[in-house]
Amino acid sequence: MKVAVYWGCLIPTVQYGYEMSVRAVMPQLGLELVELNNVSCCGTPIKSVNMFAALYLAVRNLAIAEKTGLDDLLLPCNGCYLSLSEAKHLLSQDGKLKERINNILKEENLQYEGSIKIWHTINLLHDLAGEERMREVVKHPLNGLKLAVHYGCHILRPSTFQPIDDSENPKKMDELVEWLGAKSIPYPEKLDCCGYMLLLSHPDAALTFTGLKLKAVQDWGADALVVSCPSCQMMFDMRQKSSGATTGAKLNLPVLYYTQLLGLAMDISTERLGLNLNRSPIDELLQKVGLISTATSP
């Protein structure tokens, strides 16, 4: 089955581990990724500056995806998912707005219909690939691992924009983890924000968000934190040291993308999953699942 993919800004310019692991796992599930030409940023980074321009960018990318004629579009980044799902929602409610944007898109020979279905990595794997297929591809069950999942805000809220799961009590990512043989631990801080969006205006507060959540997950005894958003990864994985320093906590928690975890369970090499790019202590996790031999030869 062919699925168009839109990577956004952060994944293809710095969060290579997510792109590599998505590219590595999807074909094994029978999902062929189709690249989009001429796309741009999704609009999220400029929403604070100019909401209309941000919306335009989101719609333009959707129009490009629709041009492929495919039914499904994968958005691995939470920020992109929010931006494009909001655009779909707003334009379905407001015909005039749709016309106004389509008038501009005409100059690039584009037209937005609203026909393509959008997916995030988590619901694509959970709903489209499905439990049976997901369980089948597990070659190396992650038995005995206790993991904490972090959904990230922008794929869950608001419930009016077609979020991937229940806004207040999501289960899909927990189930995805359990299908690999690991245990997803319940913890009260599950819906807490990573702080990324505050990084530009209030960096210390942003790092405090990050540090407090990491500390909580660590204290609940999780072996690792599993994420599915490049922004969240840039906080929990890339800024674990500075967030520990800001909050005064000793942090030592492996953080990885769900697709990296899935890749491990599929027995894909750590290099192909980009796991040597994670900053957090991933080797400790690999040791626990008995994969350290591949980990020591990056």
Partner: protein, 183 residues
């Protein structure tokens, strides 16, 4: 009982000086309302549910219910000048949980846009993303990075396909969009 206690809290006291402040700006209030679609701040009944779940309240004392109240009354200039709108983490909890469909976070985005239009207090880094998109279509070009063992790598070394920026037509159309918004 709880509702009574909360109703006794007066409208915002921390951003405006109730004794000396100038009159609300009703024209600016209308301009703001036009930006936020259905989520009208005047539907707020100050239940404070938004603020009770707001992570930026804990960290930065952001009070979304106050912002809603001030906007609803027309104290827009004061809100923009205070810089408080830049303390929102965009977690969207307030939008999800408001019983009156007010969406304080949408109001915050609209206020940030107004701050940019009126050249008020705007963290510079927010404007940088816009110029980067105008230049390259994205917020940044692919960066070099390092592995945990400090080996330098990039897309090519990682066997990732070449990254493409959008063409010139994109830029021309995007410029037009920004001009349209100025009108």
């Amino acid at each position: 009982m709880l509702i009574k206690a909360r109703a006794a809290i007066p409208y915002s006291m921390s951003i405006i000086d109730l004794t000396t402040t100038k009159k609300p700006d009703l024209a600016l209030r209308l301009k703001l309302l036009a930006k936020i679609g259905e989520h009208k701040p005047y539907n707020c009944f100050q239940c404070i549910r938004c603020t009770s779940g707001c992570p930026s309240m804990k960290m930065l004392e952001l009070k979304p219910h106050e912002i809603v109240s001030l906007a609803s009354l027309g104290f827009i200039e004061e809100l923009i000048a205070s810089g408080t709108v830049w303390a929102c983490a965009t977690c969207l909890k307030c939008k999800e949980r408001c019983p009156q469909a007010v969406a304080p976070v949408d109001l915050i985005f609209a206020l940030r846009n107004l701050a940019v239009e009126k050249e008020a207090k705007v963290p510079e880094s927010f404007l940088r993303s816009l110029s980067a998109i105008l230049e390259t279509g994205f917020v940044q070009k692919p960066q070099d990075t390092v592995t945990r063992k400090m080996e330098k790598v990039n897309r090519e070394k990682l066997d990732l396909p070449k990254f493409h920026e959008p063409d010139e037509k994109f830029k021309a159309a995007f410029f037009k969009v920004l001009e349209l918004f100025q009108e």
